[in-house]
Symmetry: C2
Subunit: 430 residues, 2 copies
C-alpha cells in the first residue's frame, strides 16, 4: 500500500521508544538494497509494503523512484542559483526546552531524536547549517510527503493571484466530473484551505478508512483481477461523500489536495508536475530535478508524491520568504505569498484539535503559526518540514524518517528548536 | 513485457511502409498521456504492453520512468560542461546514397525517414547541428536501448585498464553463482566481446526464445502467483545454457551485457548505475541526470535500461572521441578507449551475418566499422546510436523511435548519411 499521505499532525500511534534509535536504524549501516544481489532480507519491495516498514522506510524515503514509476520535474538546463555558505559552529550547542517534558535539549541532540535525514538552515539567504544522515546525500532526493501539499497550494495561490483561478467558484465549475462528489459543491477556497465537509478518514488503524481506497486507487501497480474500486486518483475523488458542512472547520484530509491538483490541471492545461517545473522549478535555479510519484493514468500524487533535493527545498523556502522573488526574478506573485502568510482562521483550525499547535491556522495548504515572528510551514509525515520565519529571516528545510508518522511525535523536539534558533540568529544583528 | 533489448542489428520484421510515417505518428500530435485524465484510448500502461506498441512507443521512449521504477544516475552538483555551438545551415541539404535502393536522399529527409527524435552532431567538440522531434526535448531524457551496452562495456574496459578486472579470467572467478551457467566457463573477454557460446535467442517471433524468460525475470512488476521462472536478471543469468563453443564467433546476445554488469558490480562493489554516476556521469559535466530501469531486486538493466539527455549522450561520445579526456580531466583511461577502437575480429563478426555491416567487428560492447576513418558506434534498437568518427573529429548522437526494432531498417538511410557528413565536415579544414 502507498502510505505517502499520513496525517501530518495526527497523534502518534505508538511511543517512539519502542523503535530502534537513529543510530541503530541507520539505513546505510543496515545495508538495504546493497549487494549484487542484496541479501534476501535486505531486498525491499513496493508490492508487499516491506519498503515502508520501519526501519527499512529510512532507506525508501531517499529512493522512492527505485520502487515505483515517477514523473520528472525538470530544473531546466540553466545553472543552479548559488546558495552562499556562511556556516556557523554555534548552532549544535543551542539549547531549547522540549514541548513535551520541558527538559532542556541541545540542537545537535534533536537531530537524532527526530531521525533527521538532512537539514539545511538559511539565514538571510546563506546556508548557516547543513547536515545529512540516514540515506540522504546533498545530491540525493528525499520524499517530501505532505510538504507536497504546500507546493500544490502555492501553485493554486499563484493561479488565483494571476486571475486564472477564482477561489470563490465551485469546484464543479472547473471539474464537472466532481459534481457527483462532495467536492462539487465546495468552493475552490474551501478546498485550498481544507475546510470542505467531506468524509475522508486518514485513520490507518481503521480498515474502512477512506484513505485505504485512496491509496488503492492511486497505486500504480496492476489492479487485482477482482478489483472493483476506483482505479486512479481522479476516479477516487469522484466517490468522496459529504460529511458535515463546507466552510465550517479545518479538517486535514489529503483528498483535498488531490482535488486541488485536478483543478490546477484543468485550469493550466498542465499536470501539477509540469506546472511545477515550468513555473517554479525551472526558474528557481534548483540544483537537481525533482520528481513525483504517479498513478496508473500518469496523474502525479498531489497529496504527497513530491521528492526533491534538500537544498532545493531550501531554495523554494527562500523564494517564499522573499515574497516570491528569487534567482533574480519574481517567480510567484507577491500577492500569492501574502495570501499564504496572512493565514486562515485559527477558530476553524482549533476544531481539528492539534494540541501542540495552539493558535495556528491553515491557508493555501500551508500551516501558519501566527506567532510573533509570523512563522509558517509546510509539513509532511515522518518529520518533513519547510519552516519559514520571516522576522528572523530564517528558512529551515528538514527531511526525516521518524518511525512515527504523525508530526506530534517530532514537534516537541522540533518546533521549540526552530524557535530558539530563530531567536539566536536574530541576536547577531548581522 | 519489457522489450528494451531487441537485437540491435537484426533484420526488420516487417517493411517500414506498413507503419504511419513520422509526421502521422508524431506522439505530441497523438496526445498520449495528455489530459486530466487522458482519454481512455490515450492512456499507456507498462503492464499490458500498450506502452511499447507503435506509434505509442514514440511517446514511451521519452517517458520510461513514468511507467516503471528507475534508479537515478546523478550528474553531481557541479556546472555542466559547455558544448560550444557553431551551428551550420549546410547540413540539411547534404546528399547521400541510400544503402538499400541506391537512391539519392537529403540529410533532412533522412531524419523523418528514420523517425529521429533528436540528433546532435559535434564537430571538433562544437555543436554544428541539433534537431528535436517526437516526444524529446533538449531537457528530456530518452531511452538509449542497447546503446546502454556500450556504456557497460566502457566501464568494464576502464576496470581492465586500471588492473581491477582481468579479462582472461573466467567469469565464475568473479561471480561464483554463474558457475552453474554457460557463462561460468567463459572468459570475461568473451563476455565483453559477445563471443560466448550461450543459448539466448532474441527472436521475438519465437515464444520459446530465451529473451522472453529474460524479460519476465527482469520485469519489475509483481510476479504472477503461479510464476515459476527466474525472478531477477541475476537469477535468469544462472539458467543460461551452453550452445556452441566460447570464443569462436560473435553473437549479439543481451544476456552477455547483464552478465558483464554483474561482474562489474562484484569487482567495483557498486551497481553499474552507481559506478556510471561516480566514474563518468558526475565527471562528464552532464547537464542532466540519467537513469536506468531496474528489476524487482533493484538491479539496473545493463543490457538496455539507460535513459539520458541527448546532449549528454553527445558529451559521452566526445569524451570517448578524445580518448577519455573531457571537461578538463581524464575520465576513462586512454588505454581503455584504445582497446575499444582497435576493435574485435572481423572474421568472428562476419559469422553473425550482418549484411549491412561488412568488415565490422564488436569489441567491449561497441560496434567497430573498420572503415578508413576508424569510425565506431554504440547502437540500440529503433535507431538509437552514438556514432564516432575520429578522423572527421565528428560525434553524432541520435535517439529515435523507428517502428522497426532492428537497425537494419534504418541503417540504409543512416550510415551513408553519417559517412557523407563526415566527409563534408572534413572539407572545410576549419
Amino acid at each position: 500500500m502507498v502510505l505517502l499521505a499520513l496525517n501530518a499532525g495526527a497523534a502518534p500511534a505508538a511511543p517512539s521508544s519502542q523503535y530502534p534509535n537513529a543510530a541503530d536504524s541507520d539505513p546505510v549501516k543496515l545495508g538495504w538494497m546493497v549487494g549484487s544481489p542484496p541479501p534476501a532480507d535486505r531486498i525491499l519491495r513496493f508490492e508487499d509494503g516491506s519498503y515502508f516498514k520501519f526501519p527499512a522506510m529510512r532507506w525508501s524515503v531517499a529512493h522512492f523512484r527505485e520502487l515505483m514509476p515517477t514523473v520528472n520535474i525538470s530544473r531546466g538546463l540553466q545553472p543552479a542559483a548559488p546558495l552562499p555558505r556562511a556556516l556557523r559552529d554555534d548552532i549544535d550547542g543551542l539549547e531549547f526546552k522540549r514541548l513535551d517534558t520541558g527538559e532542556t535539549m541541545r540542537w545537535r541532540a534533536s537531530l537524532a531524536a527526530n531521525y533527521t535525514d538532512g537539514i539545511v538552515v538559511l539565514h538571510k539567504g546563506r546556508i548557516v547549517y547543513e547536515r545529512y544522515a540516514g540515506a540522504l546525500q546533498p545530491d540525493g532526493q528525499h520524499a517530501a510527503m505532505s510538504v507536497t501539499k504546500s507546493f500544490i497550494g502555492t501553485l493554486a495561490a499563484m493561479l488565483v493571484a494571476e486571475g486564472k483561478l477564482n477561489p470563490e467558484r465551485k469546484v464543479a465549475d472547473y471539474v464537472p466530473e466532481l459534481a457527483v462528489s462532495a467536492f462539487g459543491s465546495a468552493t475552490v477556497r474551501q478546498v485550498m484551505d481544507m475546510t470542505t465537509g467531506i468524509r475522508f478518514s486518514e485513520d490507518y488503524a481503521d480498515p474502512q478508512a477512506e484513505v485505504w481506497a485512496h491509496a488503492a486507487a492511486g497505486n500504480p501497480l496492476p489492479k487485482p483481477k477482482d478489483f472493483s474500486g476506483p482505479r486512479s486518483y481522479y476516479e477516487f475523488l469522484q466517490t468522496v461523500q459529504a460529511q458535515g458542512q463546507h466552510g465550517e472547520a479545518f479538517g486535514y484530509r489529503t483528498a483535498n489536495t488531490d482535488a486541488l491538483g485536478w483543478i490546477i490541471a484543468r485550469v493550466s492545461g498542465q499536470s501539477v508536475a509540469q506546472l511545477l517545473s515550468n513555473r517554479i522549478w525551472s526558474r528557481l535555479g534548483a540544483e537537481q530535478d525533482a520528481y513525483m510519484s504517479v498513478d496508473a493514468t500518469g496523474t502525479p500524487f498531489a497529496g504527497g508524491g513530491l521528492n526533491t533535493g534538500l537544498r532545493d527545498l531550501a531554495r523554494f523556502g527562500e523564494m517564499v520568504r522573499n515574497n516570491g522573488f528569487f534567482n533574480g526574478q519574481q517567480i510567484i506573485p507577491a500577492a500569492a505569498i501574502a495570501d499564504i502568510r496572512q493565514g486562515g482562521k485559527p477558530a476553524d483550525f482549533a476544531k481539528a484539535g492539534y494540541t501542540l499547535l495552539p493558535g495556528w491556522s491553515y491557508r493555501n495548504m500551508w500551516w501558519i503559526t501566527h506567532n510573533d515572528h509570523g512563522a509558517f510551514a509546510a509539513r509532511g509525515v515522518h518529520g518533513q518540514t519547510l519552516y519559514i520565519d520571516p522576522k528572523a529571516e530564517m528558512v529551515i528545510a528538514r527531511y526525516g524518517s521518524h518511525p512515527v508518522a504523525g508530526n506530534a511525535a517530532n514537534d516537541p523536539t522540533s518546533l521549540p528548536a526552530f524557535e530558539a534558533l530563530a531567536t539566536h540568529l536574530m541576536k547577531d544583528g548581522n
